[in-house]
């Protein structure tokens, strides 16, 4: 196909797409206008039904908890996939960390980056746990908290060296923690089944005060497990990539 033909094909396809896009956009409900009934119903009943004041978390971990299990395992499989693709292959060897090897050509980490990373590590850990453990009370949840927790590990790498990152997150431990997080979520659901309830039914006491940290039963528990799983998956993926970048080289020597 000549470039000229290709251009005409592209323009024709774009014109078709534009027509359908404009047609679709013209049929959208007005900005900020919500026509469906479910959102209004959920808004009315969620707080009294679950004692969670964060309705988004109530939907994620309770009403649509089954969807969230699926998302959780997407992440789990993705991390496993990264670990599989980035495993050490035949014909590759691990050398000393590139940011440690003598006579390396890399720029040393600036003191400013190290100082900032060091100062942020502690607050980041606190923030991560806060987010993961307060899904039931305020806008937050296990996913956000987990990534923030994982970022703390990256800050340790920035503040120190790769060896420090590896020491605080050995792959075996990270693997196990990730499995506990993913399995914990599924186990909460199965526990409900064992108790004769539907899968993922909230079987824990809901507490008496909506918005208290101890309220909302399994919502808080599931958010905690999600936080653990996401943090471990993130650390695992970043660790595998750092491994590849800094340690693995070609050659079998």
């Amino acid at each position: 196909m000549t470039p000229r033909q290709r251009r005409w094909l592209f323009l024709a396809a774009m014109a078709c797409l534009a027509v359908f896009l404009i047609w679709g956009l013209a049929g959208l409900p007005g900005f900020g206008n919500y026509p469906g009934p479910y959102g209004d119903i959920i808004n009315r009943i969620a707080v009294s039904q679950t004692n969670a004041t964060a309705v988004v978390s109530a939907i994620n971990f309770e009403y649509r908890g089954f969807d969230t299990v699926g998302e959780e395992f997407i992440l789990f499989v993705a991390a496993a996939g990264v670990a599989t693709v980035l495993r050490r292959l035949r014909g590759e060897r691990e050398g000393p960390a590139r940011d440690e090897a003598p006579g390396r050509g890399l720029q040393p980490t600036s003191e400013a980056v190290r100082a900032v990373a060091l100062a942020l590590t502690g607050p980041t850990v606190v923030m991560g746990w806060y987010l993961a453990s307060h899904a039931q009370t305020s806008p937050s949840g296990g996913f956000q908290g987990g990534v923030v927790l994982g970022t703390a590990f990256v800050l340790v790498y920035l503040a120190g060296q790769f060896l420090a990152f590896e020491r605080i997150s050995p792959v075996d431990v990270t693997d196990a923690v990730e499995a506990v997080g993913a399995g914990g979520f599924a186990a909460v659901g199965i526990t409900a089944v064992i108790m004769g309830l539907p899968y993922l039914q909230n079987f824990l006491p809901l507490g008496t005060i909506p918005g208290a940290v101890s309220s909302s039963g399994t919502i808080a528990l599931i958010s905690f497990f999600v936080g653990v799983e996401v943090a471990a998956a993130f650390v695992l993926i970043v660790g595998e990539l750092l491994d590849q970048t800094l340690l693995v080289r070609e050659g079998s020597g």
Binding site: P35, P139, Q144, T151, V154, V238, L241, R249, E250
Partner: protein, 113 residues
């Protein structure tokens, strides 16, 4: 269509509706500019940094549209996690092999013909 009239809730944090509209339009324009900047940045390392800025702007956009949960997700994933993964991947693929000639890409082979 059955639209219930919005009830004006007055709190100490209530701002004039026009002000909120102005904020939302401003941030929408900024996000559009940042998205274009991401596409137009040709050097991958710089693109990862611009992408991070775009992620932060998108997080502010979600905040301006009163979606704090999505704000947190976008802030952590779009502004931090994704650029980190991209930078690490770029660091890996940019490194020349330890010894011998660099591997030939399909483009190299085409050029040699």
């Amino acid at each position: 269509m059955n639209v219930t009239p919005a009830v004006a809730v007055v709190t100490p944090y209530t701002v004039a509706p026009g002000l909120m509209d102005a904020l939302q339009v401003t941030i929408l324009v900024l996000v559009a500019i940042a998205a274009t900047a991401v596409v137009l940045t040709r050097v991958p390392v710089r693109q990862a940094i611009v992408l991070s800025v775009y992620g932060i702007l998108l997080a502010v956009l979600f905040l301006a549209f009163q979606a704090p949960d999505v704000t947190l997700s976008e802030l952590t994933v779009g502004a931090v996690a994704l650029p980190i993964l991209l930078l690490l991947t770029l660091a890996k693929v940019k490194r020349p092999p330890a010894r011998g000639r660099p591997p030939r890409t399909p483009r190299d082979q085409e050029r040699e013909k």
